[in-house]
Symmetry: D3
Subunit: 327 residues, 6 copies
């Protein structure tokens, strides 16, 4: 990892204690904070926190998710009983949070791009997993990936209730704009984007028209259900993989039904069930071209006391890594 990164990425503020006897059973024992680049440079999973939500259109506490996510680790084992695999068999590191600025959002976004580029340059074997934060970070993480690998064509698989194709002219790179940001900046083609989960009354007509103009692919939740979520994901990835070199998975937690995700203020009635999202994420994790992912728009301050949404967000990450192991 380039040395310039070190002052940028804060080492995780959570202690990592090597488990007694070296036997790993819980997630917080498995994921090590980065302390020695040389030792960790072959890590297969890299976690980076991106606690930015002041770029969110509505007041959001999504900035609190990286911390809540790490605190939730001790409630999960590394052993995946469904597939009889142990996540502890692959190496994972936590590089901490991207440093952010309180009042200069542009600088925050620049730091995210720089961090993403550095991570993709420094950890060549890794799936880089960004823990948001709001959806504005996706454009920055993908731009950083593009900087690191300028010759690779990048495609996106998006689980979302929204297009996230709003115009940047009015309010800049907010959480409503990441996909348009990538199209307009030429980093990803509209036709290399696949959105699964649109439904109901949560997108204006002009965004649909923009999507059509740019060739953005979208499968409504209703249609995805008819075909099966897993099969839908696989078909999208198959199409994508004929076109692109690298696939970026972005999971906007607002794709979930609000009854299943109380800690996502933008989630809606009629969204995905937990089971559907986990099936979709597993399928995505299994695809060899998926090299990076993020989980965004989860606001722990609005979650219920027993933290169903924080736990679900954590489960999404573990499910993705399970997919990686099943490749």
């Amino acid at each position: 990892m380039k040395s310039f990164l070190f002052p940028k990425i804060n080492p995780s503020s959570f202690t990592w204690v090597r488990p007694e006897g070296g036997v790993i059973s819980k997630v917080h024992e498995w994921i090590e904070p980065l302390t020695d680049y040389e030792k960790s440079k072959d890590a297969e999973v890299v976690v980076v926190g991106v606690p930015l939500s002041r770029s969110s259109i509505s007041a959001s506490g999504a900035s609190e998710f990286p911390d809540a996510f790490r605190r939730a680790w001790k409630g999960f084992t590394t052993y995946n009983l469904d597939h009889d695999i142990d996540l502890a068999d692959i190496s994972a590191i936590d590089v901490g949070d991207v440093p952010l600025h309180v009042t200069d959002i542009r600088k925050c976004h620049d730091n995210i791009i720089e961090a993403s580029a550095a991570l993709h340059t420094s950890f060549l074997n890794a799936k880089v997993c960004a823990i948001g934060g709001d959806h504005s970070i996706t454009a920055m993480m993908v731009k950083g990936l593009h900087q690191a690998k300028p010759n690779e064509r990048i495609g996106i698989l998006q689980f979302d209730t929204h297009f996230d194709l709003r115009d940047l002219t009015d309010n800049g790179p907010s959480n409503g704009t990441p996909m348009r940001n990538l199209i307009e900046s030429g980093v990803v083609k509209g036709s290399d984007m696949y959105n699964i989960g649109l439904h109901g009354f949560f997108n204006t007509k002009d965004l649909k028209q923009y999507a059509d103009e740019k060739g953005v692919n979208y499968i409504t939740l209703s249609n995805a259900r008819k075909k099966g979520i897993e099969e839908t994901v696989n078909q999208c990835l198959d199409e994508l993989s004929t076109k692109v070199d690298t696939i970026y998975l972005t999971v906007d937690m607002d794709c979930l039904d609000i009854a299943h995700a109380p800690g996502v203020p933008a989630s809606t009635p009629g969204g995905m069930t937990t089971a559907e999202l986990l099936d979709g994420v597993l399928a995505a994790g299994c695809h060899p071209k998926v090299k990076a992912m993020d989980i965004v728009c989860l606001d722990p301050l609005k979650d219920y006391q027993v933290q169903p949404t924080v736990k679900l967000g954590t489960h999404v990450f573990l499910t993705f890594v399970s997919g990686v192991m099943l490749r």
Copy 2:
């Protein structure tokens, strides 16, 4: 609209500002408060608030739903992405709330009957959508419809966990009685009522016996699931439409599973999922004989912070209107 109505119906207390440039994208920009009857008399959708819940057996804040419903509009677009239709293409007005009395419930009920009659007389093209309030209002809305159109035979499609066939002798027209009220007053025949959603341990045996005596049709949730909710609704409506001129749809939100509808105190374990209810409501909205509907028993004071139930109640209304457009 008859002039006597004007002192009765309060103009909605929510501002309506014509969207800039005249382009409608959100629900609150689409539904106009009634200000000029002549201009609005051909409206296809008429919303009326019925904030009455002091007639509820248990303490209820369902009186707060009309306001919460209107405040929720700005969180929904008029564009229905699933069916590529725009609700803004049909005209909709909000006539405000039926005026109610604090301590004279009978007067409240009389006002509701009168308002319903006036609306059905004045807006001949409209689907009248009553936003409750508790379930006692359904009997009054249907009685008003009957007053307005005395020669039309009225049938009812009811989504509910309960029969709502309690005896009125003991406690008058409470929220447990609307269907019996209509049968006993001769306004609707038992055999013209179709109840979808009964299940579990939430009705006493004598109500079932009364239902059988009066020929009330009911399809338990379990049986509806086996056949498919949409097909069940369609079959009920087909049967009904051979018998009646006009169908009234009543959605008691307590038909939902309590995990999906925390803001409905009477909802129960084992009820409908959100997806099932929305499918059923869409099917009902599509039927040409459905001319009026209501949404009742949603108590925003018990909803969670991000308001999943208020949002779901609003989605039910928008889904119904989508069905109307798809006719």
Copy 3:
């Protein structure tokens, strides 16, 4: 009932008032508190509260469930509309709570064993339904059953997200250990245990290895869904019934998805839906060899205001009794 039991079992602290006219319609009118053993000795359903949760690994208020369960009765009718049966047609008694000690958990466990043995000796026709409390009570209830009927081979059907096979050496008979406790004490063979509902990242690998060594049968939730919950349960019970004399059903409410069971702190994303659990419990209730059951790990202090989880726990019990009537 043996006299030594009387000082042990507290009469329920809830009033039972014989309904006027003798017509039973609500659950609290049906289940009588035990006052006269001779009159009640043929009861078909016996409810016993086991308000112990200080044996729980995490801080738990599951000790509050027996009271909350009884208070919830008045919200349920005895009439099961789905199957047109009336629970009031079989006799049910509530023997109150097992007396417990504040600081001597071993004494608590001994009391539970003794109470279970006494109940199984005294009420020969009864299905004994223990309302926990945490999962540690299951080992005690089964040991009591074994004491009462030492010649009967006992099998267990378990709905659970966890194996509950933790080692007792470190921390004694906590809520993580009941199944291992029974295996190690020789009361139940590992191969006579059937666990339905395992999934995700909630069991360490060594527990899976222990389960395999001991021949514990487990069907993951994912596999149970593929086959159908009801069919899965029936197949387990069929296998069990070829081997054992008596089947004990234990429902750890943490088998549910956390979105459906907010009042179960250990519930997880990706668990059972309400409908799945109720289907499974009904099937278990129908089997003639199921003679006892428990419901554990439901913490009313963490439930939401409208008490979805307490109501669901109560529904599980009523569904089980419905199965008993359908045998």
Copy 4:
């Protein structure tokens, strides 16, 4: 007690078990449900629940307070440590709740009047303590007292943030009207009313003008604080006792600061502290002419989890009874 009362007053739905050994230490062991009038006719304290809140202007769950109040008893001892007295030394009974009608509020009010009259006729030594319910019940309780003792001039001491002098013409006897109701019906003179606690921006000017016209006495919270709450109360009672035969104390819990009484939706910033209210109530309880009291407008459905407001409402009652013992 006159026989006509028996069908009206429901026996309390809470069990009363004579404490073992006859030693009373908790409040629920002290207050006996009425079962035998002859045995209880000399009771010094009579508790009656008045679970009416459908007469409240805003949606209210104050109807749930009588039950919550009784459930809270077990959290309080009868021993008053501050004054070294034991409430168990005087006799107290609970006559249950006044029967109410679901949809006929007038009938509810008539029942309350009748119950109050019967209680004041039947229990000649008692302080009758009405547990509301909303403030509309005060007018009815006082009217009943007047019916029972038509020759006694009645005065009122009121702790309140509001005058409760609204016009009855528009909306009938709601919770905003009890004092005017009593003035207009000639039951109590305005000049025999003393209101302590007014402050801030919670009364319209016309109500103040009406109060002045009718000679209603009021001491603002600010002035009461300057003089001292206890001294203020004593001075009011001294004045009153020169004029009237009987004093009725009404405690509208909305007199409290909203930070101290979250379960009172109408409480306000700037209201009384807990300590001030308890001091005032004790002083009132000590006065020999105070023969009846009520506690109103406490909505347990809005209280926080640990029930600070329900506990405070219960403490108000116990403090009043302490005053009675200190007379």
Copy 5:
């Protein structure tokens, strides 16, 4: 008002309906939205919403307060019973919210400065009351005042638990910096700042040293209590008025004890009581040199259900205006 302001300040999104008969009794009937500058230019009170909290160090929903504040108006009368004055006797307008940008915080701050300057230029008789938002807005409101009246020396009276003197170098003009911002920009001298309310462990030592260097005046809460809040305020204002032309009052709601202000995440144990703050604000309102004020850092998303903090924030404003009338 200068025309350039019109595109900047949004008219309030809340309807204003002239009360029937012209009699004003509630706050929402009194404060008119600005529609005609000429008619309103002599308004004595001007309300402006400043819904900016993305400049807050911690995730904050203080941006939601202007809306919550306006919705709370209908719960307050204009009649101040404590002082027998009616706020309706002075004219008040609501100019709506300052337009803000989603991702450019500097632009937000510039807009606030510009709006403040325009308001102070356009409404020469008015007390301008800014409803935040976080505390960063205070620096901008004061800079705007300075722009409008460059020849007036400005002093500040601050109720706060914090100095708000953090260094701007690191993170720009966040909510931790407004006082330093004003000192460093030369707009207000340190010695013209008076802070009341500091206590406990909520300021680092270096901030105290900076305050001392710059001559900032501060009276700890403990010392203010000893002298009396009102007297403390009066003494500060007396000192200030010998030095400056205009005094700006800033009320950081975090000066309150966290038990009294649950909706202020930064409030602390040991802070002011409600009564103390209201006394202090009234005294400030009475001083003739106080020409502008703000209320900041109140986050309605964290308030409890009955909204004690939102109501308290509203009461602060009404108390200030009462002081203005009592001048």
Copy 6:
């Protein structure tokens, strides 16, 4: 520190990162986890977590307080503005949590005694501050102190709503018994105990009689208020210091009014205000004979979202240490 302690006391699970540049400004930067006894043996403040609440009579989550307490540190500076002192000027260490057993409460209590003895033996200059946990731990901490210093006579200053003098015969050393436990075991004389804060209806009469028999000193909250809390504390300590060598301060957070301490289920209406408790604790901290203290019965699981009670509990600790510095 004796080596046997090392396997007993877990090092704190929270990371300690030496602040950059060595400048300490926040509490979490000041208190170091114990890593090297020799280096830390002169520490003036020793923090030990005692996460035991399964010995609580009612279900309690007080076991979660040590973790919540440590997480709260970063919200407090070390600089005490009221007294212009910096806590960072004295050395403080965190030795982690006493290891506890899940199902053997006696063993838990033995471990606490052993840990306390070891700490008092090993850190001769330290004030040992135990962070509970429930009140049963106080007896154990004091017994350990007695073991370590058998020749010192120990006195206790207790802030509490309760005597905590329940009989141990029935239910063992629960949270209702610590003072009696110490009297009966001969460790502390009744007459060397001073209880401040008793009030209301929260102690049975027999406990008062026991207290009187044993000569326990108690000043009711009402009497303490009359004299002043600080003066009351000083008088108690003066009396105590003539009799004993060492004073142990125990702060049962249930001494607070429930409106100020929602996260203490046993707190009551009419208890201490925050300001009163902090004044009392400061006075206690200042006394040279106070060598150890604890904070108990604070249940973070019941606290509100912004954690007023956890923050207050933390403030109590910091206030105590401030007192120590002011000696």
